[in-house]
Each structure stands twice: as structure tokens, then as C-alpha cells.
């Protein structure tokens, strides 16, 4: 009987009934190398689209680059960056806008998912909750731009309800302008967290909840003392995924505010775009990209490490 199990090299042998002559003829070195050869094209492709641009950006960040003109400046771009008020403002804006949006998204998604996860209607129709996510981000940004700004929809609504007398200058106020970005982001991406949280809750053992209920625990106690701690690793992953996405928030800023008023809604991604593609200072933009990448990695690592450690404990 032909052996169809995995060989010592991790490669399956020939089909039943056929002598494994080809495989046996291969040298030991080839047998060892064969799996690596199989994955080489995929790895090369991945390296090409990730490592190469990354290395290119790092190299470019050491130059003053204006199209074909490259002048080596060493770490000058980084020194300028750390003394650049606009860079720090953009970083702060990213944390403020992203932090508020992410917190709201998490809270809303948790609340809605906890209310809904045992509901059979939700189980059957959860796709409806995903609809905002299915729109193109640029389309969502335009919808909210029209609602807040050009189309005066929100202002008109508030005037008709008697809350205000005049149209609101959304882009003239720092917090109102930030609010428009936060609302657009929360509207589109809360469903993403919702669907993850619902899946996590539905995966939890119903008997644990039942036992707690029999012991007299109420809704809030079950939520805080049982469901939430059990969901912590899932929440951490969801927050990291959304956090990385928010760190790179660009579309809404580009379409809705372009950093107005006075740069207080300019996120780090928009800052990099502006320096790179409006000022054509590619070396400086690359330096900012490298710094942003390092910060994102550190923050993501901290969140994941902390969340998973706590989960084990």
C-alpha cells in the first residue's frame, strides 16, 4: 500500500497505486528546498509591494528630493520634522480625532452588539448593519460634506427644529470641523466593530450567562463582569485594526475639510500627502511616513501586548 501521508519533508507523496519514483529520485537538498521554492513567488511579491517601498521611503527620507533632483541631507529631514509645528499639530489632530472616533465607535458597537447578539432578527439580518461599510469611503465623505457644509442639510434641519437661527459654519470652528470628521467616521465604521463584537458574543458559552443569571446577576453585571472580560482579546484586535485605519485617516479629511480651519483637522496622513504632492517635498514626506510607521507599530504592539496579557491573567 502506497504511503499517502506527509513525508518527512512535509511534501505529499504520489497518488495511490503509483510508484513514487520521481519523488524518491530527488536529492535530499531539493526535498528540503521544495516547499520554500513553492512559496518563493508569493514571498517575493509580498516583499516587492511592502519591503521595497518601505526601504525606498527610508532611503528617500535622507534626501532633499524634488522629482529627479536628489540631494543627500542626512537626518536633516527628521530634525526639521521634529521641530515642525505643523507635524506635531497633525499628530495631535490624528490622536484627538481618531481617539474620539474610535472611543465612540467602540462604545456604540459594544452597546448595540450586547443588546442585539441574542436577537434572532439580528442574526438573520446582520448584513443590514454593514451597509455603511459597503459604501466607497469617498462617497461617504461627499455625503457628509453635503450634509454638513455645501448642502446645509444639518443646519437646515436644526433651523427648522428651532435649535439655531443661522447656518452653522462647520469649517470655521476647530471642534465643529473635527466633529464632522468624527461623525462621518463613526457612521461608516461602527458597523465594522459591531459585527466583530456580535460574533465574539455569539461565540461565548450561553451556559455561563445562564449560570450568572440564575445567581441573580443583572444585564449590566453580566456585561461588565462576564462578557466584557471574555471579549478583551477580540476587542484588542478590533481596536488595533480600527486604530491603524484611523491613524491613516485621509479620505474624509481630503474631501471634507482639507485641514481647515488653520490645520486643526489635518491628520498625519493628509500632512504627508500635502508635503509630498502639494509641496513636492518627497524626502520630507518620506521622513514623516517613516516616523508615522514606527509610531503605529509601537502603539499597536502596546495595545495588543497589554490586552492579551490581561486576558491570560
Amino acid at each position: 500500500m502506497t504511503d499517502t501521508s506527509m513525508s518527512g519533508t512535509g511534501v505529499a507523496s504520489a497518488s495511490p497505486g503509483m510508484p513514487d519514483r520521481h519523488f524518491k529520485r530527488r536529492s535530499k537538498r531539493l526535498r528540503v528546498m521544495f516547499p520554500y521554492l513553492l512559496v518563493t513567488p508569493a514571498v517575493a511579491f509580498l516583499l516587492m509591494i511592502t519591503l521595497y517601498p518601505g526601504a525606498y521611503a527610508i532611503i528617500q527620507s535622507l534626501f532633499y528630493v524634488k522629482f529627479a533632483n536628489w540631494q543627500f541631507v542626512g537626518t536633516e529631514n527628521y530634525r526639521d520634522l521634529f521641530g515642525d509645528r505643523e507635524f506635531w499639530t497633525a499628530l495631535w489632530n490624528t490622536f484627538v480625532i481618531g481617539g474620539v472616533a474610535l472611543t465612540l465607535e467602540c462604545v456604540l458597537a459594544l452597546l448595540i452588539s450586547f443588546y442585539a447578539y441574542r436577537d434572532p432578527w439580528i442574526k438573520g439580518w446582520r448584513i443590514i448593519f454593514l451597509v455603511p461599510m459597503l459604501f466607497m469611503p469617498s462617497a461617504v465623505a461627499f455625503i457628509w460634506k453635503l450634509a454638513f457644509m455645501d448642502g446645509r442639510v444639518i443646519s437646515d434641519l436644526l433651523i427648522r427644529l428651532g435649535f439655531i437661527d443661522n447656518n452653522i459654519g462647520w469649517t470655521s470652528s476647530i471642534w465643529l470641523s473635527r466633529l464632522t470628521l468624527i461623525v462621518a467616521d463613526v457612521w461608516q465604521w461602527t458597523p465594522f466593530l459591531f459585527i466583530i463584537f456580535v460574533a465574539a458574543l455569539q461565540g461565548q458559552d450561553e451556559e455561563v450567562e445562564e449560570a450568572a443569571r440564575l445567581d441573580g446577576a443583572g444585564w449590566a453585571q453580566i456585561f461588565w463582569n462576564i462578557s466584557l472580560p471574555m471579549m478583551r482579546p477580540v476587542i484588542a484586535v478590533a481596536v488595533v485594526l480600527r486604530g491603524i485605519d484611523i491613524m491613516t485617516m485621509f479620505t474624509n479629511v481630503y474631501i471634507m475639510t482639507q485641514g481647515t480651519p488653520g490645520g486643526t483637522t489635518e491628520t498625519i496622513s493628509y500632512f504627508i500627502y500635502r508635503i509630498g504632492f502639494k509641496s513636492f517635498n518627497f524626502g520630507y514626506a518620506s521622513a514623516a511616513s517613516v516616523v508615522m510607521l514606527i509610531m503605529t507599530l509601537i502603539i499597536a504592539q502596546l495595545i495588543v501586548k497589554r490586552a492579551f496579557k490581561s486576558g491570560k491573567e
Partner: protein, 320 residues
């Protein structure tokens, strides 16, 4: 690099005819009804909110080039020049600050969201009838005449540039578009020909002559009655060209327009004073100029060669 200009943008002042005539108490004279920016500030103040949903003035105050153009437009009337003969930035002097004071005063009567308004937002507000006066490009006049785009057809007037006390008549010709092709192309001659006879011609035909039987690409187009029939600003633009104020097209100029506009925008939203904005901008512009080879033994552009084009109205008799 080969480049062919295909679009030339004049900043102009447009008025809603019915509203402004009501304030002025009579018909609008394009030369003299709004002779100064002080008068525009007064009119826009009076009209601001008079009709629900209609603001006194529209202006492009978004970050970047939009704020720069708006400020340059007004500051040029106060006598502002961007550089001296050594390419040192001088726009943060008295004339530049006068221009800044003027747009800050206008902004008090401006439509909500003006601080985030570029061409698209300003266009939407103007054509949608949300502003009583507007500082914008010449195409805001052309488009306002088109029933398929505009809700104010027949109810607007494009006027000649208002002045500033102690200033000059310097209508600003400060933006435009150029199609370019790199000389390092595999076939630069072929690419140039394509640019000249295909791309540029078609864009010109669309933008300026607008398929009305007017040949594209010549200044005389502006005085062509066929174009004037569909573009009210054409006549104003034709006369204004004789007195135009222009920003020099220098290496790094686009980047400079960005940094100036970012600072002007900060002033418009009261983060810093107008003077601080221009001082910050001057320092940033100097740095960009230096990066682009100015202040050395051989600057990339000779000031004397571009000086005559910076304000072509110099020493000319006023047209009014």
C-alpha cells in the same frame, strides 16, 4: 519641459444684481458703483443675512493656494509685491497687511464655511444663490449665465476691480493651467505635437470658447461678441489684462502658494493675527526660495527679466 498654457484665471468681483441695486438705490455701473473695497465691505455687511440663507460675500478662504489667491487679489490693489529685486519676500509689508485687514473685514460678512472654501465650494455657493457678492474667478461669471448650472442667471454683474485708498488698479491674473511634457520623453517632439494640437486645443475649446464657434487660444477671443454673449466677464477680463498684476512663475512657486495660504487661513479663523500670518509666510517662502537656488551667485530666474510682467499696469493711464 515643454509647457503650453491653456487656461488663464482672473480673479474678479461679481455682484447679485437685484440685491446690490437695492442697497445702492440704482443700477450698477461696472466701473464705479463699487469703487473701493471699503464700499464692498459696507455693501456685503448690509446684505449679509438680509435674505435668509444668503450671506454678504463669498470668498475662497481654504488652506493652500485658495487663501493665497484671495489675499493676493486684494493686497495687489494696496500696492503689494511679493519680492524685491533681490528676490527677498516683501509681501509682509504695509500693503500686504492692508490686504489682509481687508479680507479679514470681508470675512465677517462671509458665508459660513468660507474658511474651507476652494473653487468648488465657492462655485456651488455662488451659482446656488447663497451669496450676494463674490470674489472669485472669471468663470464664476461665465457659469452664472448658464441655466444648466446656475440659479442666478440674469441676476448678476461682473464689475471692474475695486480699489484701495492709496493703492492702484491691478486686477489680478494669478492662476492658470499649463499642459506639460518632459523633454526626456522618448519622443519629445511627438509628445509636444500631441500636447499642442490635441490636448490643449480640446481643453481650450471647452474652457474658454465653450463650443460657441470661437477659435481658441488668442487674446482677441475675449473681445469676440460670440464669447461675450455667453461670458459676461470676457469684456472685463479683456480690459483688465492691460493692468494685470501677476505672481511670478518661479521654481517652488506652487509650494510657496501653499505655505502662504496655510498661514492666511490661520488668520482667517483667528488662530493668529494677519501680521503674524504674513511674517510666518515670508519666513517659509524665503526658505523655499533658498532651497530652489535663490540668494546664491546665480539665481535660477533673473528678477529684471520678469519684473515688467509683475504689474503690467505700471505707468499706464487709468481706464476710468
Amino acid at each position: 519641459m515643454y509647457g503650453i498654457p491653456f487656461d488663464c484665471d482672473f480673479q474678479m468681483v461679481h455682484l447679485r444684481k437685484s440685491m446690490v441695486e437695492e442697497v445702492l438705490g440704482g443700477p450698477i455701473d461696472r466701473w464705479s458703483s463699487v469703487p473701493t473695497y471699503d464700499e464692498l465691505i459696507r455693501i456685503s455687511s448690509e446684505l449679509n443675512g438680509k435674505v435668509p440663507g444668503v450671506a454678504g460675500v463669498g470668498l475662497m478662504g481654504a488652506r493652500g493656494m485658495w487663501s493665497t489667491y484671495t489675499w493676493e487679489h486684494v493686497a495687489a490693489q494696496a500696492g503689494m509685491m511679493l519680492f524685491d529685486e533681490n528676490w527677498e519676500p516683501i509681501f509682509n509689508g504695509d500693503a500686504g497687511n492692508k490686504g489682509m485687514d481687508t479680507i479679514l473685514a470681508l470675512s465677517k460678512n462671509a458665508i459660513e464655511g468660507y474658511a474651507g472654501a476652494g473653487w468648488g465650494e465657492n462655485r456651488a455657493a455662488w451659482l446656488g444663490g447663497q451669496v450676494a457678492t463674490n470674489i472669485s474667478w472669471q468663470d464664476s461669471g461665465t457659469q452664472a449665465m448658464r441655466p444648466d448650472q446656475s440659479q442666478i442667471v440674469g441676476d448678476f454683474v461682473t464689475i471692474y476691480e475695486p480699489r484701495i485708498s492709496g493703492g492702484r488698479f491691478a486686477p489680478p491674473n494669478i492662476a492658470g493651467s499649463t499642459s506639460c511634457v518632459a523633454a526626456s520623453s522618448q519622443n519629445p517632439e511627438g509628445a509636444f505635437l500631441m500636447l499642442a494640437f490635441l490636448t490643449t486645443s480640446s481643453i481650450m475649446a471647452m474652457n474658454e470658447a465653450n463650443a460657441n464657434g470661437v477659435g481658441p487660444g488668442y487674446r482677441s477671443v475675449l473681445t469676440n461678441p460670440n464669447l461675450q454673449a455667453v461670458s459676461q466677464p470676457a469684456e472685463v477680463m479683456a480690459a483688465s489684462l492691460e493692468y494685470a498684476w501677476c505672481a511670478p512663475r518661479l521654481p517652488g512657486m506652487f509650494e510657496m502658494e501653499q505655505v502662504i495660504g496655510n498661514e492666511v487661513n490661520r488668520a482667517l479663523v483667528n488662530q493668529i493675527s494677519g501680521k503674524e500670518a504674513l511674517d510666518n509666510a515670508a519666513a517659509a517662502v524665503r526658505k523655499i526660495m533658498k532651497q530652489n537656488g535663490f540668494y546664491g551667485a546665480k539665481p535660477p530666474v533673473d528678477y529684471a527679466s520678469v519684473a515688467p510682467g509683475l504689474w503690467v499696469g505700471k505707468d499706464k493711464a487709468l481706464p476710468f
